[in-house]
């Protein structure tokens, strides 16, 4: 087994392990906010490791970089969705954000 094959298998195994860790974490946690925390390794670290394994396996082929591009794009976009889901869960649980008079920042004096 070559060094390249070892690195590819290691990255691939690590990526799959991260995905499994997240899936089990999503199942095991009690509430939606805890579950959302376990979503982040699956949407950032797992795809990155598997995308790197693909690039190393295929060398400089364009298909490999396309796969890595899909993973990196997903890594960039998924935190936005996670944030929106957390905001929705917060609104459903505690109601909408309301700024009270005490919390409202005072206006800065004009120079």
């Amino acid at each position: 087994m070559t060094a390249r094959a070892l690195i590819v298998d290691g990255l691939l195994g690590l990526g799959v392990a991260v995905m499994w860790f997240s899936a089990v974490g999503v199942l095991a946690m009690r509430n939606v906010f805890d579950r959302l925390h376990y979503l982040s390794p699956a949407s950032t670290l797992g795809p990155l490791l598997i995308g790197l394994a693909l690039v190393i396996q295929e060398g400089g082929k364009s298909e490999a970089f396309k796969g890595l591009f899909a993973m990196v794009l997903f890594m960039a976009l998924s935190p936005l969705v996670t944030h929106a889901v957390a905001l929705a869960a917060r609104t459903r649980t505690f109601g909408a954000f309301v700024i009270t008079a005490e919390e409202e920042p005072e206006e800065e004096p004009k120079a």
Binding site: V26, L54, E63, A70, F74, V81, A84, A89
Partner: protein
């Protein structure tokens, strides 16, 4: 059976915990399970493309990664309004 095929089978099995949350959780928990399933699908498409020698599946992964943003935001918005 190479390492990519084994990884694809292992990723397929990871649908079980995510699917269980989708089926049995509260509405917001189901949305998190659905997001987890979407992430698994993206990775699985790339792994299957490599395992089976079908590079066309990578295009599906690119499309899925682009569409996951508007889809997820729309679902989150609906769940926020619909209480």
């Amino acid at each position: 059976m190479n390492a990519w095929t084994v990884a694809a089978i292992a990723l397929l099995a990871a649908y079980v915990p995510a699917g269980w949350v989708c089926l049995r959780g509260a509405p917001m928990d189901r949305l998190v399970g659905f997001q987890m399933s979407g992430t698994l699908t993206l990775v699985l498409l790339v792994v299957i493309a490599e395992a089976m020698g079908r590079p066309g599946f990578v295009d599906l992964a690119v499309v899925l990664s682009v569409l996951s943003l508007p889809g997820g935001l729309a679902l989150a918005r609906v769940m926020e309004r619909w209480t």
